[in-house]
């Protein structure tokens, strides 16, 4: 029973990361119409920046500054490269561009910080288990769960309540009309891209304390993030969160019963969802059909 709880909680925390990554990627897919293959790469950038900054400004400072720097790099990349893809109707170009970026990022991270994993120091107070029975519930893991919930709620509040957020949602529905109403849609898309990358960077810093910090950590996460979006349904941000949690939990529970299949189970779930409900759990009908 305890082992089941252990694997279940591990899965949940993994799923929370997928959900946070899927949120950012969904935002970018919906408004910028770009599949950001480099999303995992930006997550790694956020994590390694925090790793380098932590000795100077402490964990809490790094948790704050790391994602912002990653988001700033995202803004620059959008302005310098990604924006030229918007006028091309064929999605192959944006895919290849971000794919190339992913390769460059992984290679650069490996050159700068080394191919070996590096340890990431978390605050001493958060490292110890909360109770002896539930040894896997360290303070840090609970903090990570809490932080992801707060970030998700903050994003939804931003999209619902702020003027800018409402414009982003309107742009997802009909960008041309929003543009005709006098909104600067170029700025909208740039900022939206930056927000997506900011979330990826935040996920990266949090993940650095839970998993090992290696240059390739983005590769597997990006695929799971795709699966989360497909399972949850394209065009629905709640769906992405749900999909992320679901596949994380499924992978965690599978590793309790049949560890060999824990990697492949999320893809099997995706295939099953595509058979039963091709648009995904909460997806809009008719999108990309």
């Amino acid at each position: 029973m305890q082992l089941l709880l252990f694997d279940g909680f591990n899965g949940l925390i993994q799923g929370a990361f997928y959900a946070l990554m899927a949120l950012g990627l969904s935002l970018i897919i919906n408004l910028n119409s770009v599949i950001n293959f480099a999303h995992g790469g930006f997550m790694v950038i956020g994590a390694y920046l925090a790793f380098s900054l932590a000795p100077y400004i402490g964990f809490w400072g790094a948790l704050f500054v790391g994602p912002i720097l990653a988001g700033a790099i995202g803004l620059i990349v959008e302005r310098a490269l990604v924006q030229y893809m918007y006028s091309r109707p064929d999605p192959v170009y944006s895919l290849l561009l971000t794919f190339g970026l992913a390769l460059i990022i992984e290679d650069s991270v490996r050159s700068i910080w080394g191919a070996q994993g590096v340890p990431f120091q978390i605050p001493a107070g958060l490292g110890s288990p909360v109770s002896a029975t539930y040894f896997f519930l360290t303070g840090y893991r609970l903090f990570v769960m809490g932080a992801i919930v707060v970030a998700t709620l903050a994003l939804f509040a931003f999209l619902r309540l702020s003027r800018f957020g409402i414009r982003i949602r309107a742009g997802i529905l009909d960008l041309e009309t929003v543009s005709a109403l006098g909104v600067n849609v170029y700025l909208l898309r740039t900022v939206n891209f930056g927000i997506g990358i900011l979330l990826a960077g935040f996920a990266g810093v949090l993940a650095a304390g839970v998993f090992q910090l290696v240059p390739t950590m983005g590769n597997d996460v990006i695929m799971a993030t795709f699966v989360a979006i497909v399972v949850g349904g394209l065009g629905n941000l709640f769906g992405s969160v749900l999909g992320g949690l679901l596949i994380g939990l499924a992978a965690g529970l599978t590793s309790a019963f049949y560890p060999v299949a824990s990697d492949v189970v999320i893809y099997v779930i995706m295939a099953a969802v595509l058979i039963v409900r091709p648009r995904g759990l909460l997806g809009q009908e008719g999108m990309f059909e």
């Binding site: 030229y84 091309r88 170009y93 895919l95 190339g100 460059i104 299949a261 995706m270 595509l274």
Partner: protein, 314 residues
């Protein structure tokens, strides 16, 4: 019409005489075989990408499955290079056919996401099923067998293997060319040009996308089987999504609206990869990444697309 004949004749002449001119340029035959193998894989992808308008980003799965099919055949079943290739082609094609219905309904970036995610299934199976596939280390311990032609037995050394590959390349390319000149191929192009209008004309778009996906799977399997025979080795890396990206960049770099585009792309890609990885063994990945970015920004129609524009203007 005439120009097409000249171009095709020139391409085949160059490929047939590679054993003569390549060593003079300092190349080696194994490199030429690799170019042909990857070109065939990229041409299979281009049937989907360039001629049906479906952005498949998971072609490495069927390429890799073809390799495992050939490798496992030689390990467990028999010692015939030709039958191993048949086994690989069938494995790649049958799996693509089976998964087609999951994929055919979607388009655009969603099609790309689903194809790449499904390709990961086979990557993890190959990586985790240690007893059968060799797991992370890959499958080795098989070797390509001499060719029995009835009147003679030909050992497949590097030059003979090149012509062996060229034969299957010709078969694959021939199938694609015939297809593109048939009503089926014209339907593919109609779907690429205007999916909705094709639907209004009563074309079952989804079935045709499925057909295109399946055919591309068979040919990718053929290329993958040849790849396994070339290296006498197959590893999960051949199934990974990074490999899928390599096929896409070959097709785009050469020109995805052109029949020979993927071949040109493969020559450039494999050439650069070979050159860069021997001079910058640690950072070749960045060079490939920069190549992606440059190709997308500056050569969206590919090398052949630019050449064709020049010819038309002149």
């Amino acid at each position: 019409m005439n120009r097409r004949l000249i171009v095709n004749g020139a391409v085949w002449l160059v490929l047939l005489t590679a054993a003569i001119w390549l060593p003079l340029l300092g190349g080696y035959m194994a490199l030429a075989s690799r170019v042909l193998i990857y070109a065939l894989g990229a041409m299979a992808l281009n049937l989907l990408l360039g001629f049906t308008g479906c952005m498949s980003f998971g072609q490495a799965a069927y390429f890799g499955l073809g390799g495992y099919g050939a490798g496992l055949f030689l390990t467990h079943l028999g010692s015939s290079s030709v039958l191993a290739i048949v086994a690989g082609t069938l494995l790649g094609g049958v799996v693509a056919t089976a998964f087609g219905p999951l994929i055919m309904r979607r388009r655009g970036i969603y099609f790309a996401m689903i194809t790449v995610a499904i390709s990961q299934i086979f990557y993890f199976i190959a990586e985790r099923w240690n007893d059968f596939t060799g797991g992370e280390d890959g499958l080795s311990g098989f070797s390509r067998q001499p060719l029995h032609l009835g009147f003679a037995t030909v050992p497949l050394d590097s030059v003979a293997f090149y012509y062996f590959v060229l034969f299957f390349f010709a078969v694959g390319a021939g199938v694609i060319a015939m297809l593109l000149h048939s009503p089926l191929g014209h339907t593919f192009i109609a779907i690429r040009e205007n999916r909705r209008r094709a639907q209004f004309l009563g074309i079952h778009v989804e079935r045709y996308v499925w057909a295109s996906f399946a055919i591309a799977g068979f040919i990718a399997g053929l290329a993958g089987a040849l790849n396994a025979l070339q290296n006498n080795f197959i590893s999960p890396a051949n199934l990974y999504w990074v490999e899928s990206g390599n096929f896409v960049i070959m097709a785009v770099l050469g020109g995805m609206r052109n029949f020979w585009g993927p071949l040109v792309g493969a020559i450039i890609f494999i050439g650069i990869q070979d050159y860069v990885s021997s001079y910058f063994p640690n950072n070749w990945q960045s060079f490939i990444g920069v190549l992606f970015v440059i190709a997308v920004i500056f050569f969206p129609t590919g090398i052949l697309g630019i050449l064709r524009q020049r010819v038309k203007v002149a």
